[in-house]
């Protein structure tokens, strides 16, 4: 049987009403141990030994049966084999006991990796499980950036999920997996998404995954010391042999797995014109041009000037002083300014096989950098234009987070001072001028977007099994939306952009709003918005509800979201009931069906949001949000292949790395990949240490780190924490100036020496901008860098795997991580006389 809740039930007509977790009378077998006809030995990956990151192989047996000529076992049996849980009668190499430190996954073995005593690890595990048993699932792992930013953070996550799932803690208030990385939970999600991305006027939009974008456009891909094959398990099929990480990215874009922008090495407006001139469809034209080789994806040649990003607008972010990993590469290649990159480029022979390598790496790809901020950060200092922005206390805005159940308003206490404007007014001003110029320069044009196969759509069925078939290599036909990105045509009325920004567009009635696969129809809300915000009297938005002010926008977001509109929440749950056949979902929202949270309400006081189809938790009856509560309590499937949480993941690229199960992978072996990075100046003691960048308690990212009170309560400028032992090795005392350098850049900071730090590891707070108390360095002779001067991006190919079930792209949900934890740096004491 195919169990209810599997992917097919979600997207096929026949499955309607069966996309649920009800197994009826079927009782799935957890293990075949008692009923097996035979046993077989399975080769499983291990990553704690071996000559490459890909590790080695161990052999442990599982019980099997033959079904339809195939050997079958259960995931549970495989999992126990992977984790070395010895059971009688199974072949292979098993640990003798928990005390066996020589074989993977025993408590004694983990001690050799983590230094946590084996007994302690075992005791915590027992307590975790016992507590889960006694509390019916209220054991929790709360994790943050400490695990999130490692290269193999996905395997760490999967281990957490396996643990909390096996102990029955998922979807339980007080249990499960709680993360505080990314607290930007936009509770009024539907209204926000549809208005912020202009889905009320045209769909879709050019969303991008940040890591992929900066990896290519800041040329970090040119500095790789090893390739993806290094990561492949000996059990893989050699799919990455000869490839570079950039090749993986280009292929993933080409197969429709992940977004790539710009899309092509030709203006999409011209592509549409060409198609029209030839009297054929745009998609057909593009496929033809691609297969003939006359057109390329931009990701295949990022250093072609045709593919440069030219204009960058940074809105209230500190890309160049806080978040941009590999900051010095940004400076050199994106901006073309002084940079402290010390790395050599990838040598010939190890360069990408597909992505075009141009002999000279471009420097200064951008023509214009605009930033909007209320602080002068490094990003502002490096911008061509800085637009002064209003703070939270000078504008109307909405705020929500996953840390509390409220949506609340920002309201201006004072008007924006001097020339500052609110974000909304700034964008309106830009739109007005753009539209004015567009009347002359652009007019009305046809645009075409390459759109990746997308999560929560039937695209999840496009590439069954996660089997890689590349049309470029003739392994299949190029079919947009199946074997390659969808090619979506959008008519653009450029002079009308400002008008459209000021009005709620018509697609909300004609298409409704769609969030995570659930469509609702806010007809009544549009009518209500006309009376609340007024109706536009002229221009492209004539007759539509007005969005003339930020307050109107907030009103519209609240009106269109289930979390703030009980009628829409209930309608969404009714739609989910239709899809799942489950009853009781609508009741979660119906208790507050008549409620509307208006912007005026939020200005009066924070308002508790409603339970909505947009999220997986229930807040009905005063409960607090906990993820997956609705799945667990109402048999609503997870959005995966089986509808269940997966211990086992099947996709060609995941198999290639040996990561079908939640395995342990160590941090990347930086010393082996990058070698000795010491300058070896005579008489200068140096030490190579792991370099971590945890959150500071003195700032929120780079915000407030320059505040005099925060500086007075910390050390008055950038610091690097290091252990007593490491400080001793380089003869440095507390608060002395040190320099940290590696192939990515150079940092000057003061040392905080503490026994709280383990030997061999230092950390510098994320995100110390370089605007306060940063001297010039001895190593570069220039201003020292911020914390990201020592980091760079690394793209893990499995994060690009797409086109199949849960492995499909979703904006802000799925894509390569910005990891930087696996880095090392050299540290030495410097001349204590610093120059600024």
């Amino acid at each position: 049987m195919v169990p209810n809740g599997s992917l097919g039930f979600r997207w096929g007509k026949a499955g309607q009403g069966h996309w649920n977790l009800d197994l009826g009378d079927t009782v799935p077998e957890l293990s075949l141990l008692d009923s097996a006809e035979e046993t077989v030995a399975v080769a499983l990956p291990r990553f704690d030994e071996g000559g490459t990151e890909g590790g080695a192989v161990m052999v442990r047996g599982v019980p099997v049966r033959r079904v339809g000529g195939r050997l079958v076992t259960t995931v549970f049996d495989l999992l126990l084999a992977q984790y070395g849980v010895r059971r009688p009668g199974l072949p292979g190499d098993w640990p003798d006991s928990y005390e066996d430190a020589s074989r993977p996954y025993t408590p004694a073995w983990q001690e050799t990796v983590t230094s946590v005593p084996a007994e302690q690890a075992a005791r915590i595990a027992r307590e975790f499980a016992r507590n889960a048993e006694r509390t019916r699932g209220r054991s929790m792992i709360a994790m943050g950036a400490g695990t999130n930013h490692w290269f193999h953070s996905d395997t760490i996550y999967r281990a957490f999920l396996a643990l909390t799932t096996m102990t029955g803690c998922q979807g339980v208030n007080g249990g499960g997996w709680a993360h505080y990385v990314g607290q930007e939970k936009v509770r009024p999600l539907t209204g926000f998404q549809h208005l912020a991305f202009a889905f009320d006027w045209q769909r879709p939009t050019r969303h991008m995954a940040g890591t992929s974008y900066w990896y290519l456009h800041t040329d970090q891909w040119r500095y790789e010391a090893f390739g993806p094959d290094e990561l492949a398990s000996p059990l893989g099929a050699g799919r990455f042999r000869g490839k570079a990480f950039a090749d993986c990215l280009a292929q993933a874009v080409r197969l429709g797995w992940t977004p790539g922008h710009p899309g092509f090495n030709r203006n999409p407006l011209d592509l549409a014109d060409e198609a029209a001139a030839q009297g054929r469809g745009v998609a057909e034209h593009i496929v033809d041009e691609l297969t003939s080789g006359r057109l390329r994806f931009a990701a295949e040649d990022p250093d072609d000037p045709a593919n440069f990003p030219r204009v960058l607008t940074v809105w209230r972010a500190n890309l160049l002083g806080s978040s941009g990993k590999g900051n010095e590469y940004f400076l050199r290649h994106l901006l073309g300014t002084d940079a402290a990159v010390r790395s050599a480029e990838t040598p010939e022979g190890e360069r990408p096989e597909e992505v075009v390598w141009r002999p000279e790496a471009p420097e200064g790809k951008l023509d214009l950098l605009v930033s909007m901020d209320f602080r002068m950060t490094s990003t502002g200092l490096l911008s061509d234009v800085v637009l002064p922005a209003a703070t939270w206390y000078e504008k109307d805005d909405l705020s929500s987070t996953d840390m509390h159940p409220f949506v609340h308003a920002f309201t201006p206490a004072i008007a924006p001072p001097w020339q500052a404007r609110t974000d909304y007014d700034t964008f309106l001003a830009l739109a007005d001028r753009f539209s004015e110029l567009a009347a002359t320069h652009l007019g009305t044009r046809t645009d075409v977007l390459p759109v990746p196969l997308t999560h929560d759509t039937p695209d999840e069925l496009a590439q069954p099994g996660g089997v890689v078939r590349d049309w470029r290599k003739g392994e299949c036909e190029p079919v947009p939306g199946r074997t390659m990105p969808k090619l979506v045509v959008v008519e653009r009325d450029y002079p009308a952009v400002a008008d459209k920004l000021r009005a709620v567009g018509p697609l909300l009635e004609t298409l409704g709003t769609t969030t995570k696969g659930v469509t609702v129809h806010p007809d009544r809300e549009i009518e209500e918005l006309r009376s609340r915000c007024g109706t536009v009297r002229d221009g492209a938005g004539t007759g539509r509800p007005s969005l003339a002010t930020a307050s109107d926008m907030c009103e519209a977001i609240l009106a269109l979201s289930g979390t703030s509109n009980g009628r829409l929440a209930t309608e969404g749950f009714r739609e989910l009931e239709r899809q799942t056949g489950s009853t009781g979902l609508a009741a979660l929202a119906a208790v507050r069906e008549a409620e509307r949270i208006t912007f005026a309400d939020t200005r009066t006081q924070p308002r508790a949001v409603m339970t909505s189809y947009e999220w997986s938790g229930s807040e009905s009856g005063g409960r607090r949000y906990s993820p997956f509560v609705i799945n667990v309590e109402h048999d609503k499937p997870w959005h995966t292949l089986t509808g269940r949480q997966h211990f086992f993941a099947a996709h060609d690229w995941i198999s290639e790395l040996g990561e079908q199960l939640p395995v342990y992978r160590p941090p990347l072996n930086a010393l082996r990949h990058y070698g000795d990075e010491h300058l070896h100046e005579p008489g200068r003691a140096e030490v190579t240490v792991r370099y971590l960048t945890p959150h500071s308690k003195w700032s929120i990212h780079s915000e407030y780190q320059d505040n005099a009170y925060m500086l007075a309560l910390s050390r008055g400028g950038p610091v690097i924490w290091m252990s007593t032992a490491d400080a001793g090795k380089i003869g440095v005392r507390d608060n002395e100036w040190i320099e940290a350098y590696n192939r990515n850049g150079v940092v000057a900071a003061r040392a905080v020496v503490s026994h709280r730090m383990p030997e061999g590891t230092v950390y510098m707070y994320h995100a110390k901008d370089r605007t306060v108390n940063v001297p010039t360095t001895e190593v570069s002779g220039r201003r020292g860098g911020g914390h990201n001067a020592l980091t760079r991006l690394l793209v893990k190919p499995t994060h690009l795997a797409g086109g199949y079930a849960q492995f499909t792209y979703a904006f802000n949900y799925y894509g390569p991580t910005g990891n930087q934890r696996d880095e090392v740096t050299v540290i030495r004491r410097r001349d204590q006389r610093v120059e600024y």
Binding site: E119, Q120, R123, I124, R126, E127, A129, R130, N131, R134, T135, D338, M376, S378, L381, L382, K697, D706, N707, A708, Y709, M710, L711, A712, L713, S714, R715, G716, G717, V719, W721, S723, T724, R733, D734, N735, V752, V753, S754, H755, R756, M757, P758, E759, R770, T771, V772, N773, V774, P775, T776, R782, R783, Y836
Partner: protein
């Protein structure tokens, strides 16, 4: 003398504070909101009426707890009389112009600001502009070498924390500043608003006073002549000199808010919700006797004995006699501070041996406990045994005892046992079980008391944490008048008057400001 055998004297009410250190995460929100409210001004840049220290560590100002050096607080003379450690009246008068027991600015830190304007005004140059530190005292570029919270999270501890005056005695030799033995906790501090304030007694000008109505200790800025005797006398070093005016300033316990029935700013903004505010009734006539208790380990009980049970009909009658209004008596009965100090006896005073009878008390920190299961005799193999006995915690009992019980580890251990029993009991209750009442009885709690204490400590609702009765409008004139004086009789000389030589402000042992811009602009930064 235990209560019940002695007649009740003058009953007074004090708004007091308790902090539950288990909940302090060291976020310093209290410090920043306090500073923004009270000391964002020229002359007090270095002053933090509220600060948070990492313990172990030398604190702010450095080693302020070393009274051998700083001569703060009270001591008993050879005849057992209470005298200021800084000396009698004659000695203090002789040292008016050269007080040797004052911390210098280096013991606090040199306050700095940054030339932020550089970031928007710097001309094109070879490097990105950077804002560098400038002294707020001299206006010149400076290097940051110490701060109000230099030791945060054990930064620099291997070098400095050995100087923590609490690390004394043989046990302290076991404290190794090594990774595997790391322990720390945060200690938020403000003026203790003592029942027996040494600062008030030491003031030659009669400028420092303790309000009759609510016990808040304040400085009359009109009377202060800048003698700085209060700075020396305060063992907590919570009186600061404004180097621009030359006068003493200190924590006001946010009296304008307290008078309006609102929590102090530090309490209101406390993210960890660890602060409690409420009334304590006390017998003003017995303060001096308690402060002079011969054995310093008896001071805790002596101070508790000065406090009056607000439920006792005799106390209520005496309080009415002393003019305490009915709503204040009601508030005293609901006081979380009285409950934590006297009913449940889980709160302890900071350094009772200073004999000032401080009125900001602390519930000592329990965590981390888990590591100590085996060494404390717990059952390693029983996963249900998650709470251990408390005698082998990461934080040495001796250390906590130095801070809170004049070295008596039994008392601090008893409090931690009580907290541990409470956790175990409430965990059982949460699991739907009855809980082990025998274990509760062993620490002196009934089931009902345990549930009430859990509500107060763990649920900690705003309305339960802060029970502050508003000042009475009919007292408004008195509250604003300057006739208020220390209501407490002391064994020292009268606080009033004597020896005020003229009106001239006194130059201090600190550099004065030579400011470049407008005088007030840079306090706490330009932006």
């Amino acid at each position: 003398m235990p209560r019940g055998t002695a007649p009740i004297g003058r009953v007074m009410a004090q708004v007091a504070m308790v902090m539950n250190l288990d909940k302090c995460i060291g976020c310093h929100t209290c410090s920043v909101t306090c500073k923004q409210t009270w000391t964002n001004r020229t002359g007090v840049e270095y002053a933090w009426f509220n600060n948070v220290e990492t313990k172990p560590g030398v604190g702010y100002p450095r080693r302020y707890e070393d009274q051998e050096q700083w001569k703060g607080g009270w001591m008993l003379d050879r005849r057992g009389r209470l005298v200021l450690r800084s000396g009698g009246r004659i000695k203090r008068l002789l040292s008016l112009f050269s007080n040797p027991d004052l911390p210098t600015i280096e013991d606090y830190y040199e306050p700095v600001t940054y030339d932020y304007d550089t970031l928007v005004s710097a001309p094109a140059g070879p490097d990105l502009p950077v804002a560098r530190p400038h002294s707020l005292l001299t206006g010149r570029p400076t290097a940051v070498t110490w701060g109000a919270n230099w030791e945060d999270s054990l930064g620099g501890a291997p070098e400095h924390a050995g100087g923590d005056p609490n690390l004394s005695g043989e046990w302290a030799e076991r404290v190794k500043f090594a990774f595997e033995q790391t322990f720390l906790f945060h200690l938020p501090r403000l003026c203790e608003h003592c029942l027996n304030p040494a600062c008030v007694s030491a003031c030659p000008s009669g400028a420092m006073y303790k309000r009759v109505e609510d016990g808040i200790v304040l400085v009359d800025q009109h009377r202060c002549r800048g003698w700085r005797m209060c700075v020396t006398a305060c063992p907590y070093k919570k009186v600061y000199v404004n180097h621009a005016t030359g006068k003493a300033e200190k924590c006001t316990f946010c009296f304008p808010r307290i008078e309006a029935g609102q929590p102090t700013v530090c309490s209101e903004t406390c993210v960890g919700r660890l602060r409690y505010l409420g009334l304590v009734l006390y017998d003003a006539d017995r303060v001096g006797e308690a402060a002079a208790t011969p054995d310093e380990r008896d001071l805790l009980d002596a101070q508790r004995d000065v406090f009056l049970d607000p439920h006792d009909p005799q106390v209520i009658a005496a309080a009415r006699e002393s003019g305490i209004p009915e709503d204040w008596l009601d508030a005293a009965r609901r006081s979380p501070v009285y409950a934590l100090i006297s009913t449940y006896r889980v709160a302890l005073p900071l350094h009772p041996e200073y004999r000032t009878l401080p009125m900001v008390w602390y519930v000592p920190p329990l965590s981390p406990v888990l590591d100590a299961v085996t060494s404390a005799g717990g059952d390693q193999d029983d996963p249900d045994h998650v709470f251990a006995a408390v005698t082998r915690l990461r934080i040495p009992l001796e250390y906590l005892a130095e801070l809170f019980t004049a070295g008596d580890t039994d008392v601090v251990g008893g409090v931690l046992m009580k907290l541990t029993a409470l956790r175990s009991y409430m965990r059982a209750r949460t699991l739907g079980e009855d809980g082990d009442e025998a274990a509760l009885r062993a620490v002196g709690l009934t089931a009902q008391e345990a549930q009430d204490l859990h509500r107060l400590l763990a649920v900690a609702k705003y309305a339960d944490r802060y029970v502050v009765p508003a000042a009475h409008k009919e007292d408004a004139a008195a509250l604003t008048a300057l006739e208020n004086r220390c209501p407490v009789e002391t064994a020292g000389p009268p606080a009033e008057g004597g020896g005020t030589p003229g009106e001239r402000a006194v130059l201090l042992g600190m550099p004065t400001v030579r400011r470049r811009g407008t005088p007030d602009a840079a306090a706490g930064g330009h932006r």
